[in-house]
């Protein structure tokens, strides 16, 4: 399982990459591996607001349907339509081409609550 050091994580298996004032969000390698082949993704509209810990979308694999939980609150400034058209990208490149949404100006408090790579790996180990 790959868990890049430079990203932040949640217990709901989302990752966050901070790029200036924007947070890029996707699901982790562990999440895509557990889900199996992703066949469908539903993402919010550009310009909508998401709330930390609340569902912002849905990911469906051949095994299960799961909610996507917002790791941070804020306005969605960009949505990756490419993963909606070709959901297999999430399996192939979860931390790169498989990103899902970009959230603008997340609060310091929300960012501080995210897990480090080590903390996330430990959490996954405990869950097994």
């Amino acid at each position: 399982m790959s868990t890049p050091e430079d990203l932040k994580y949640t217990k709901e298996h989302e990752w966050v990459r901070l790029e200036g004032d924007t947070a890029v969000v996707g699901i982790t390698d562990h999440a895509q591996d557990s889900l199996g082949d992703v066949v469908y993704v539903e993402l919010p509209e550009e310009g909508s607001d998401v709330t930390k810990d609340e569902a912002f979308g849905v990911v469906e694999s051949v095994k299960a349907v799961s909610d996507l939980y917002a790791p941070l609150s804020g306005n969605v400034v960009e949505v990756n339509e490419a993963v909606v058209d070709a959901p297999e990208v999430i399996n192939e490149d979860p931390y790169g081409e498989g990103w899902m949404i970009k959230i603008e100006s997340p609060s310091e408090e929300d960012i501080a609550a995210l897990l480090s790579a080590d903390e996330y790996e430990q959490y996954v180990e405990e869950e097994k």
Binding site: D37, V39, K63, A64, V65, A86, P87
Partner: protein, 501 residues
Amino acid sequence: MKERAVKGLKIKESLIFERSAPDRRGIEPSYGAVPAIPPADLIPKRFLRSPDDTMEGFPEVSEGDVVRHYTRLSQWNFGVDTGFYPLGSCTMKYNPRINESIARLPGFKDLHPMQDEEYTQGALRLMFELAEDLSEITGMGAMTLQPAAGAQGELCGLLAIAAYFKERGINKKRVIIPDTAHGTNPASAHIAGFDVTPVKVGPEGILTLSSVLDVLDDDVAAIMLTNPNTLGLFESHIKEIADALHERGGLMYCDGANLNALMGISRLGDMGVDVIHINLHKTFSSPHGGGGPGSGPVGVIKALEPYLPVPRIVKKGDTFALDSEYPLSIGRLGAFYGNFAVMVRAYAYIRRLGPEGLKRVSETAILNANYIRAGLKERFELPFDHVPCMHECVFSDKRQNEHGVSTLDMAKRLMDYGYHPPTIYFPTVVHGAMMIEPTETESLETLDNFIKTMISIADEAESEPEIIKNAPHNTIVGRIDEARAARKPCLRWTEPKEESS
């Protein structure tokens, strides 16, 4: 074990479109003395097919072609009448043939739902008495038979709960649902207008009072609990959870999909349940699967009776009537009264078995599930093994994973041995879940053979995993690319382009 593999003649079959030949017809309609009139002379233009919209591509086949086509497809099918079907949480029990004879009595099958009550007394009596029997089995105060299946039953129950609070001017917005719940539970709660609060089951696989208290407040309208739950475990804290919920003014909803474990042994009404739905097609033996038909009666405590759907079936002296004079009712759930033929089968089943028989059904269902659990637990990981199971047991693929074999692979391999696979990857709280529900109608020999087969699959996982990973081998269609089928579904036949040489 290889000698147990499926063998037999199954004939390949093309699509009905590919059987088509120009101008071939099943029948030549004879209009006799009635002259043919062009449709345009009779039907308003807006309802007519456009002249550009031709029938091209529609299969042109003879009656014999059609019969042979669909008969062949039906022979590819697998059902509980052909073999063991341990699909967890679906209760695929044998459906007694006497139920079918009774459901086909002309007085039942030829009834029109709009016939006068005077001529439908027998049907109304059957429905009235079935509702009474189901109330007795579950310990509820009133019962509606209207919901067409379990999920509509859930919606019906939750709408009744919403109506109950609305009438009292109480605003409660949340429904608590454990992570072992059937996926329909949160969907129904959402459609009924509630927000869903998920809660994790405890380390023993059942809901604990303390995890409920963590999220319980005055905003909680209901808790939806399945008992026994989808891990096949009895929710032994249900009464104390219901008591805590009632103290906060909330209502206890029970998903009764797994009632097959409880009949004649314990009653959910006695455990503090206020609303329950039952799946007649599972517990009370109607052929189901492949989409229906179902029937999802809802039982409620007396305080919720005014909110049940109309029309209700009432008894006035010695006669029965349909009564819609319930001003607080949530209304109708469908055009008529529910799936009547399923009710007839359930009534026949209950009457034939009686209280003692129903109790034996549940006892044997539990015994069979525990027999499989005991027979397989040496070879398959059993995540919750501290107490015996109820009517089903859930294994994981943890040990076979070490050889690169997953639950999906083993499910496919079971087909080679002539079994329907169990429910897989559910409940989601178990990694690579295999949920096995044998039901009470299987013999000791069937259970022993199934256990032997599973053990030989466990052996194969260690010695020749490739045979499992490429399974099934004996079915008419081999391993299907499920991801591609879901991502790029091909929903319509198109004429193949002629190949240029």
